[in-house]
């Protein structure tokens, strides 16, 4: 760890600087017009209006995702710390790769919108990180970040430019993609015995409260996430309202289902931390469509239920039968609701509320996202397992002290 990690990290950063030096320039009044999709010269002004939305997304990426993963009792440092590391690397690489794909290798002019999109691309990695949390080394995470964002940018290009599918809140291209990519990697990196449980893989009273901070930050800013790349004010309004309504409905059904499947009607903190967000994921694809307020409530309700049921029944099954150990349950928070989002967009188009895309193209987009995620994840997993290596041994899973200087543990203050 001492030499390999710093070397790789510094090399990556150096190559980022070189790439930025050659290909990336600031957006100015003159070159803004050459950008695709820009028809007026007020784009730079508009770009500053987007800054608050960018900040919201930024808070979600760094605080929301970071703290959401702090529920493990001995893995809080890594959750927040490595989250910061890979998000910082990912947004540089994301800016570059997305720019390359969309500008076909010409110079990239970055504005606020590129920053938002770069943050989006890191979200996929952070989602996948949730699946492999505690079972992977920082070095492996760096490599995974690079590969995953490349695959993501390719898939996004296919979905957006070739299929012309509509996916404003990126339920399919980010959430479903990130979740299945992470699951595939976790499947390849599986170590025997994990399905029987790991002694360090448990939460603590206060670590669960920390995770709740992450949940709340994600919950509060989700409307910004889904509306950040909306083009017109009307779409933005629709995206905000739909996401908000879907989230509130999702909270109610998530609590109800958690109590229903729990012992003696008790609630489960894991469900509350994750399933309350499923509504935001699921409404993403059709957030800018006129699905009516009740439509968003329906999507949110379904997502909350599906997510809790996934946690209760599907995750144990995945671990036991398919040997895929999903630490944070990203499949239930991002995977299933993402699929629900894709399907609901198909239903929405079937009902005729949107003409932005066609049913086949939405289905193709969903298929392409999941397909490329699984294929990319399997390859990445193999690379990490046999080429990069350095995965911690099973005894060191879910343990901060392997990578961090951890203060000497005193008696917990129970007084």
């Amino acid at each position: 760890m001492r030499f390999i990690f710093p070397t790789i990290a510094v090399l990556l950063e150096a190559s980022m600087i070189v790439l930025f030096g050659f290909f990336v320039k600031y957006e100015t009044e003159q070159n803004a017009i050459q950008q695709p999709n820009s028809t007026n010269s007020t784009k730079v002004d508009r770009s500053l209006e987007l800054y608050p939305l960018f900040q919201d997304v930024h808070v979600m990426i760094f605080v929301g995702f970071g703290f959401l993963m702090t529920f493990l009792k001995k893995y809080g440092f890594s959750s927040v710390g490595i989250n910061l590391l890979i998000a910082a690397l990912g947004l540089q690489w994301g800016t570059f790769v997305q720019g390359m794909v969309h500008r076909h290798g010409q110079t990239i002019y970055i504005g606020i919108k590129n920053m938002i999109n770069a943050d989006f691309s890191t979200a996929t990695v952070l989602i996948s990180f949730g699946a492999v949390l505690g079972k992977i080394s920082p070095t492996q995470m760096l490599i995974m970040t690079i590969i995953e964002i490349t695959v993501f940018a390719g898939n996004e290009y296919v979905v957006g430019e070739i299929f012309q599918a509509s996916d404003i809140g990126a339920s399919m291209t980010i959430h479903a993609f990130g979740a299945y990519f992470g699951l595939a990697v976790a499947g390849v990196l599986y170590r025997t015995g994990l399905r029987k449980g790991h002694e360090k893989e448990e939460s603590e009273y206060h670590s669960d409260l920390f995770a709740m901070i992450g949940t709340l930050f994600l919950w509060m800013f989700w409307p910004s996430f889904n509306s950040a790349i909306a083009e017109t004010a009307e779409e933005q309004y629709l995206a905000i309202i739909n996401t908000y309504l879907s989230l509130v409905a999702c909270v109610l059904t998530a609590y109800a289902m958690s109590s229903l499947v729990g012992h003696r009607g008790k609630l489960d903190m894991v469900h509350i931390q994750n399933a309350t967000l499923a509504g935001g994921v699921a409404v993403g694809t059709c957030a800018d469509m006129k699905i009516h307020p009740y439509g968003s409530l329906i999507i949110g309700s379904i997502a909350g239920m599906v997510s809790v049921l996934g946690f209760r029944f599907l995750t144990p099954c995945l671990t036991a039968k398919l040997r895929i150990h999903d630490t944070c349950g990203v499949h239930n928070l991002h995977g299933l609701p993402g699929v629900v989002g894709g399907l609901s967009s198909i239903v929405a188009i079937l009902l005729g509320v949107s003409t932005a895309s066609s049913m086949t193209m939405q289905a193709a987009a969903l298929g392409s996202s999941i397909g490329s995620a699984i294929a990319g994840g399997l390859i990445t997993g193999l690379i990490l397992r046999f080429i990069v290596r350095g995965q911690p041994s099973k005894d060191n899973f879910f343990d901060d002290s392997v990578y961090w200087e951890v203060p000497k543990e005193k008696e917990l203050d129970n007084v």
Binding site: S203, V248, L252, T253, Y255, G265, I272, T276, H292, Y294
Partner: protein, 418 residues
């Protein structure tokens, strides 16, 4: 002693919640529509920023503000989110129905969600007094009743008493506090001392979490106080006044807390309660106060009253009246809110005296009427709700399980030391 385990709510909580969500779905299906008028991007973003600030206060601020009990942190935060989600949906509908007539569809704008979030905050304030003594089902019923009552009071204020949107909202603190106090009074006349000694305590960690909530409320309070003002000049005044009142009340709270301790130590619970008092007190009058020093004096008084109340009144309320106020909402919101209401009445009186003489007593009467309406309706609605909630059908936890997360949460691997 009752049974060792709290009664199972498996049969009723999911059923009620899902039925409620279905009911919302049906009502939304028939009675709501989008705002179809053309949107100005700048204006949209402006409202959205305010909505977001208010949501942060409601979800994060109030959630963690109440998490000070050492064994009740999960419930405080998670129930808060649940009640917010429930309250917003219901408040959007009730607001819409009372605002327009029944045969017109409720138009869902960003501003109506903002208003609904603020109305739902009344529940989040009251919950501070009830926390730990009611299960989620009882809180659900309480939220429905309280939102309805509060929105109705606001409608009466606006339609019949001629109060503006802002002032009627700012009496939320008084209304919600007395609502919560009455509910907790009906639910349990003082929990047994043994339970209180064991569980009604804070720890270092839980106190820090509470501080997180307090800080977020403190930071975003100017947004809350200016959220419903439409004139830009008034908005600006409101933000400035709130900002300075909060600053002064924070300084006052910390210094007075040290002063009141025999060895000059600061009490963290006082800080949680009293730093926000300035923002509460300045709420009603923040748009009419012309000079910062007035707001600062108000903040100072609010800080004093809040800590004074916590020191002197707490024992009296607990033992004599049997009202057990879990998180001290009476000192954070109730007393400063009353102070703010009275100051607002005096200010309006003073302003009217300057202009026209004939209107003086009429104005005084109306303003006093609005304040006492908020308080009285809080007391009455709270008592009624409390009586309904103390029925057996809600399967409330036994009194020995008060202030305990284990009554409503699963602990898969019971952590050591919990």
């Amino acid at each position: 002693m009752g049974s060792k385990y709290p009664p199972s709510v498996r049969g009723c909580l999911p059923l009620w919640t899902i039925a409620l969500e279905l009911a919302f779905l049906v009502i939304f299906f028939f009675f709501t529509s989008y705002d179809t008028s053309s949107q100005d991007p700048k204006e949209l973003m402006g409202i959205y920023r305010v909505l977001q600030d208010v949501t942060i206060m409601a979800a994060l601020g109030f959630g963690f503000l109440n998490s000070s009990l050492r064994r009740y942190g999960w419930s405080s935060v998670a129930f808060n989110l649940f009640l917010l989600a429930l309250g917003v949906q219901w408040a959007v509908l009730v607001d819409g129905f009372l605002e327009w007539s029944f045969y017109k569809k409720v138009i869902i704008k960003l501003s109506s969600i903002k208003l609904a979030t603020m109305s739902a905050m009344s529940v989040l304030i009251s919950v501070g007094a009830v926390l730990g003594k009611a299960n989620l089902l009882q809180l659900t019923v309480m939220a429905l009743v309280e939102v309805t009552a509060f929105v109705t009071v606001r409608m009466v204020d606006r339609k019949y008493l001629g109060t503006d949107n802002h002032t009627s909202m700012m009496y939320i603190h008084v209304f919600a506090t007395y609502f919560g106090l009455m509910v907790t009074w009906c639910l349990s006349r003082s929990p047994p001392v043994a339970v209180l000694v064991e569980k009604h305590q804070t720890t270092k960690n839980s106190s820090l979490f509470t501080m997180l909530g307090t800080l977020f409320l403190w930071i975003f309070w100017p947004s809350f106080n200016s959220a419903l003002l439409d004139i830009p000049k008034e908005r600006k005044t409101a933000v400035f006044n709130t900002y300075y009142a909060l600053a002064v009340s924070a300084v006052t709270a910390i210094s007075v807390s040290a002063l009141s301790h025999p060895r000059g130590k600061i009490n963290m619970t006082h800080i949680h309660n009293a730093v926000l008092a300035g923002g509460v007190a300045v709420g009603a009058s923040c748009h009419v106060i012309g000079t910062p020093w007035l707001a600062m004096v108000l903040g100072f008084m609010a800080g004093l009253i809040s800590i004074g109340g916590a020191l002197c009144l707490r024992a009296y309320f607990n033992h004599m009246l049997g009202i057990h106020d879990t998180c001290g909402v009476h000192y954070t919101f109730g007393l400063p809110g009353l102070l703010g209401g009275i100051v607002y009445i005096l200010l309006m009186f003073y302003e009217v005296t300057w202009t026209k003489n004939s209107m003086v007593f009429f104005q005084l009467l109306i303003d006093t009427g609005v304040l006492s309406l908020a308080m009285a309706s809080g007391l009455i609605a709270g008592t009624l709700t409390g009586l309904v909630l103390s029925l057996k059908i809600w399967k409330a936890a036994h009194v020995t399980k008060y202030f305990d997360d284990q009554a409503s949460w699963e602990f898969p691997h019971l952590a050591v030391g919990f």
